[in-house]
């Protein structure tokens, strides 16, 4: 989603993006030319007339589970966005009985919140797990 027209989206896809990945962009490139949608999400830069790097995770019920907003010079970490979606999917599938601690990624242990876990996280989870090996 950007303030560019769908025509510009097409040209960007055709002349550059498709060359990077060897196919068309596999998701819709939305146009928000007057910034109305960006304003609803709170990420429209009124001074620059552009949208900042806002990224929103929306669950299957249409509820916002998380967001991150960066100013233009710094790009996002796509792997981190995917990891967060995977973590939310796991939590949702467990009906909230499991939580993903810092540094969790698929295959790593989850935590089961409850009275028994209070004061005992140190037994279940090590600080080293917060970091990529």
């Amino acid at each position: 989603m950007s303030v560019d027209s769908v025509f510009v989206h097409k040209m960007w896809n055709d002349t550059e993006l498709s060359k990077m990945i060897g196919k068309d962009i596999p998701f819709p490139m939305c146009s928000d030319q007057d910034g109305r949608i960006g304003k609803m999400y709170g990420i429209y830069d009124e001074d620059g007339g552009v949208e900042t790097r806002g990224r929103f995770i929306i669950d299957p019920d249409g509820v916002i589970q998380g967001f991150e907003v960066l100013t233009p010079p710094v790009g996002r970490n796509v792997s981190e966005s995917i990891r967060q979606v995977q973590a939310y999917q796991l939590v949702r599938a467990s009906n909230g009985t499991e939580a993903t601690p810092s540094g969790w990624k698929p295959g790593k242990a989850t935590l089961k919140p409850g009275p028994g876990l209070v004061g005992n996280v140190w037994k279940e989870w090590k600080v080293s797990e917060a970091f990529d090996e």
Partner: protein
């Protein structure tokens, strides 16, 4: 599925709708638009927007993605990095 629209020689007409209630009170002075950040755990603002997708120009409605996880990304402009 998003419906396709045929562009003419002008800009595609915007068919976006906003869920924020229109201020219709006549005796009220026009309120200055204040941008507020969305909240986690709250419904994502609904929108419908023109898009380029799989070689076509289509209208995308966020509500069509109920039942799926959505990663909605805004960025400053085409031909920048994302």
């Amino acid at each position: 599925m998003p419906e396709e629209f045929k562009p003419g020689c002008k800009r595609p007409e915007l068919t976006k709708k906003s869920v924020s209630p229109e201020t219709t009170a006549i005796d009220q002075p026009e309120k200055e638009e204040v941008q507020t950040m969305v909240k986690v755990g709250k419904p994502a603002p609904e929108f419908s927007a023109p898009a380029f997708f799989e070689g076509k120009f289509v209208n995308v409605d966020l509500s069509e993605y109920r039942g799926k996880w959505v990663l909605l990304c805004f960025y400053p402009g085409d031909f920048t990095f994302v």
